[in-house]
């Protein structure tokens, strides 16, 4: 018996997909052109300032601030989530009130509040409060404590996503609740916690720009500082945006690496969805491999 010939069919026609795609592409190209070719934007100045020392120092501070605030937020969030899930009603209530308060008021208000803490407590111990609460510390308190409230909800949802059978199994084998959390539940919850945390991280990169109100010299403040003197407002905003984009793109890449790592133990490993989508659409990986008929009887 000769094996039947393999099917090598053409893809179905999708005229509307091409039409809509072309329209959207054309419109985007037009907008970009108008922007890039605008006589009111001096692009050469953009390139002059991209590697400006003050800008780079601002970028550095933005990154440091982001990492420190996220660390504060994540540690605080895990503690708050565990408090909320504990069987101690006092801890539960404290966690509940914390989230209510810090999520319920604008983070900008919180930043300004911490910066002006000396109005409430002129001294902390023997030290004047203003000496202790530098703009950087105020920024970390404002952003980090606020972030903890959001992370608490993310962590709690992540813990809730872990199958109850897991803690049944640990309890039945004589592990304590703390051990269960540490070795079984939290590692599994990470799968659900990492993607939204990546979101928060990227959000934080940009939210740090709020601290310009308390004169912390991060990226946006540095840009503002320069354009207040040379009036190249749009150009310096573009410079800042370029760096924010670079940072968020890097953060996104790191996030997907972490997600891939966590997918260990899963049969299907995650690959880049966007890439796979374009390959498929453009049919770059359309290869028909022959069937080895000798394997089937």
């Amino acid at each position: 018996m000769t094996p039947p010939p393999l099917i090598n069919a053409l893809p179905a026609r999708r005229p509307s997909r091409w039409a809509v795609g072309a329209l959207a592409l054309g419109f985007s190209a037009y907008l970009i052109y108008e922007f890039a070719a605008s006589p009111n934007i001096q692009w050469s100045e953009v390139w002059n300032y991209v590697a400006n020392g003050q800008i780079l120092a601002g970028l550095g501070l933005t990154l440091v601030l982001t990492v420190v605030c996220m660390v504060v937020g994540i540690i605080g969030g895990v503690l708050l989530a565990i408090m909320k899930l504990s069987r101690n009603p006092v801890l539960q209530s404290i966690s509940w009130c914390y989230v209510l308060f810090f999520r319920g008021t604008p983070v900008l208000v919180q930043i300004i509040f911490w910066f002006n803490l000396s109005l409430v407590f002129p001294n902390i111990g023997a030290t004047p409060t203003n000496q202790l609460i530098t703009p950087f510390i105020a920024a970390v308190l404002g952003l980090g404590l606020n972030e903890a409230a959001y992370m608490a909800e993310i962590v709690r949802a992540g813990i809730g996503s872990v199958d109850e059978g897991q803690s049944e199994a640990t309890a039945a084998s004589g592990l304590t609740r703390a051990q269960t959390m540490r070795y079984v539940v939290l590692p599994q919850a990470l799968r659900a916690i990492v993607p939204p945390t990546g979101n928060q991280f990227i959000g934080m990169l940009k939210t740090t720009s709020l601290v310009s109100v308390i004169a912390t010299q991060e990226l946006l403040t540095s840009a503002q500082h320069i354009y207040s003197q040379n009036f190249l407002t749009i150009e310096l905003l573009i410079v800042a945006s370029i760096w924010y984009l670079v940072a968020t793109t890097l953060a996104t890449a790191i996030q997907s690496v972490i997600e891939d790592r966590l997918a260990a133990g899963d049969r299907t490993r995650r690959t880049s969805d966007v890439l796979a989508f374009w390959r498929q659409t453009l049919r770059l990986d359309r290869k028909i491999s022959p069937i080895d008929w000798t394997l089937t009887k």
Binding site: E168, A169, A172, G174, L175, Q179, Q188, G265, R267
Partner: protein, 274 residues
């Protein structure tokens, strides 16, 4: 049912006719309710060392709840449960009142019972070997090297010596359940509790799991197995218990309960499951 809700146990009492053997599990008049729903209505069961007891019964009759009372996963509302001479879940104060155990001593009691679940409940974030060694290392404090050696011996026992580096999701249901059995055995429990260990398996995988349990029975493991596999119960059980609506309807050797049931409900149940 007697009016006393706290019967004392006679730990050395032996089943009629058999020579004196240590009592491992002693459940007396166990009652459990969920809200207004009385799920266990005074269950008595004594299991001796090396004995294999199979519990049959329709869904919702309280079999799982009863097993969970035996290892303190549920607190009981009346009666008492002793495992290896320890009152499960409570301590008796000098004035005779009971106090719920703290988490630590309760966890310690649970180390003496191994439990195998219908849904396996392996830890998907850990390799097979780590699934087995987690509790011995963290709860019992066994040195890692020793725990690993023991885990490999157990994997061999359940026929999975080549799977120690696999993640649970890479295994079939039958293989996962065999790992779960090895994991429970790793704590060297006094008694193994199985809650419908083959109910979540494809029919062709049931046999491999039952064979492992049979092997344990042959090695003298004390076991309580909730199952719908009547043939298995007939082969392995020293005693079969038929439960319905939270009480034991009928119990005895398989030749009696399975082959010559005296109660209408048992007959109906067996007719549907044979």
């Amino acid at each position: 049912m007697s009016s006393s809700n706290l019967p004392t146990t006679a730990a050395t009492e032996s089943a009629a006719g058999t020579p004196e053997k240590t009592v491992i599990v002693d459940a007396q008049q166990v009652c459990k309710r969920f809200g207004g729903n009385l799920v266990l209505r005074g269950v008595n069961m004594t299991v001796h060392e090396g004995e294999v007891v199979c519990i049959l019964g329709p869904s919702g009759s309280g079999k799982s709840t009863f097993l969970r009372c035996l290892n303190g996963l549920e607190t009981i509302d009346a009666g008492r449960v002793d495992v290896d001479g320890q009152f499960i879940g409570y301590e008796q104060l000098p004035d005779g009142r009971l106090r719920e155990l703290q988490a630590k001593p309760l966890a310690k009691q649970r180390m003496e019972t191994g439990m195998v679940f219908q849904q396996f409940n392996l830890y998907p974030n850990m390799k097979v070997l780590d699934n087995i060694t987690l509790a011995p290392i963290k709860a019992r404090g066994v040195p890692a090297r020793e725990a690993k050696a023991d885990a490999r011996r157990l994997l061999k026992l359940v026929g999975l010596q080549d799977k120690e580096d696999a993640y649970p999701k890479q295994l079939s249901g039958g293989q996962q359940q065999r790992v779960a059995i090895a994991r429970a055995l790793a704590m060297k429990p006094k008694v193994m509790l199985f809650d419908e260990p083959t109910s979540a398996l494809d029919p062709e995988l049931v046999g491999e799991v039952l064979n492992v349990i049979k092997e344990l029975a042959a090695n003298g493991m004390t076991m309580i197995v909730v199952t719908h596999e009547i043939g298995f119960a007939r082969d392995v059980a020293d005693r079969v218990i038929f439960m319905a609506d939270g009480v034991i309807v009928e119990e005895g050797p398989p030749s009696q309960v399975i082959d010559h049931p005296t109660h209408e409900r048992t007959r109906n149940f067996l007719a549907r499951h044979l």
